[in-house]
């Protein structure tokens, strides 16, 4: 079971409330799809500058593996106030700890409502379906 303290998108991002802000990252499933379990297969992660405004569902960055590039989509609308630049040079963090050390951006959300997103249980069902 994935962590229950956060919500999930169909495109495999997670969002977690942290005080007045929210942390956003991608799931272990997304990392594994990109890297097939080989941390070295991840080659690049492009994160936005602080101050960038994003809409819910808007692409805020890209993550690239040896064979593919994937968009990173924001689960919520708001202002990017911090990015985890440490992962740009240490992509292996995403394989080791996508839930904590692997957070990507911190957002000051327009709304605290996350009802449009999936619970951990719903996300488990989502990824167990053929895709």
């Amino acid at each position: 079971m994935r962590p229950n303290d956060r919500k999930y998108t169909e495109t495999h991002e997670w969002v977690k409330i942290d005080g007045d802000t929210m942390l956003i990252g991608i799931t272990d499933f997304a990392v594994n799809e990109l890297s097939n379990g080989n941390a070295d297969d991840l080659v690049y992660c492009d994160l936005p500058e602080a101050g960038r405004m994003v809409e819910a569902g808007e692409t805020f960055g890209e993550i690239e593996s040896v064979k593919a590039v994937s968009d990173l989509n924001s689960p919520v609308a708001g202002e990017v106030i911090e990015t985890n630049t440490a992962i740009e040079d240490h992509l292996e963090v995403l394989s080791k700890d996508p839930w904590n050390a692997g957070w990507m951006i911190r957002i000051k959300p327009n709304s605290k409502n996350l009802d449009h997103l999936m619970s951990a249980e719903q996300y488990e069902k989502h990824i167990s379906q053929p895709h």
Binding site: D41, Y44, V66, K67
Partner: protein, 365 residues
Amino acid sequence: MKQTPLYGIHTQLGAKMVEFGGWHMPVQYGPILDEVKTVRSKAGLFDLSHMGRVRITGKDAVRFVDSIATNHVAKIPLGSIRYSLFCRADGNPIDDLLVYRGPDEVYLVVNASNTAVDLAWMREHSRGFDVHIDDQTDAFAMIALQGQVAESVLQPLWEGIELAKLGYYKFGFGTFLGMPNIRVSRTGYTGEQGFEIYIPADSAARCWSAVMEAGKGAGVLPIGLGAHDTLRLEAGMPLYGHEIDATHNPVEAGLNFGVSFAPEKGEWIGKSALQAVAAAPRRHLVGIQTPGPRVPRQGYKLFQGEREIGYVVSGSVSPTLDTNIGTAYTELACGKPGEACEIDLKGKRQPARFCALPFFSRTRK
């Protein structure tokens, strides 16, 4: 979606399976870049059973293939193989292929994704020729062992053929693991010395296991299509859907060695269109290298300053060159080896440099 006779082996090995050209194929068994290094340093075993295999017989076989293929089939020595393409009247290819010329056959190996189109094209244009077109794709499997140890690993499994005497782009027949009359060619899509072997579908699993067993001490490993794509790109070999497709012709792709305008070949589909391209090309295929961090990908635009000068058609991390590489079409005035350009990544620019093709090859240079 179709499965090759080796599907069970791939899943047993834990391969990541993907759809490719209508087939379930292994994209990787382990890290892709490690698989590339294995082929460059030792050898790798590939399942290529998804490729289309078509045997053409009948008294007009050579004349028929000469009427639809770009290369001069009548000039291929018996026992030799040539790269060729099938083009439409507009000179753009519907596929590229290898043509094996035997004493009583012309044997074609085509891309999986285009096999159905190729067969329909051949049947449509075979009217008036005394030929029999036999699709052997499902009856046979195809495996390739590519890399420096391929010959020494394989030879003990053969009787009646000396692989060392089989030259590059030559084929022969021998007894393989006790099965007589098995086709083998010194060909490949990796830039390494290696062989492609055509075996009855129901013997594929046994043959695969025997080659793996024979190669165990030499470090032979199974290799997926992900590494295959990087190996072919490093070797400067075209892939249909990238360097060539319905809007990219073989002349501008630099594949003139696969195109014959010889008068003795007579007329063939696409000839006059390609002669016009050869007389006045508008673009050319070149290599690019970029230290990174981003990998060139199909569709990325290339700039020099504010001027858009071309676009990427293939790209990969290259573990052999330890940099990121790609192929691109540019205006003829650009693309000289060493010349600088920039890759556009959604508005961000990354420096790159043009370079000669192939990036790496042990079979040509």
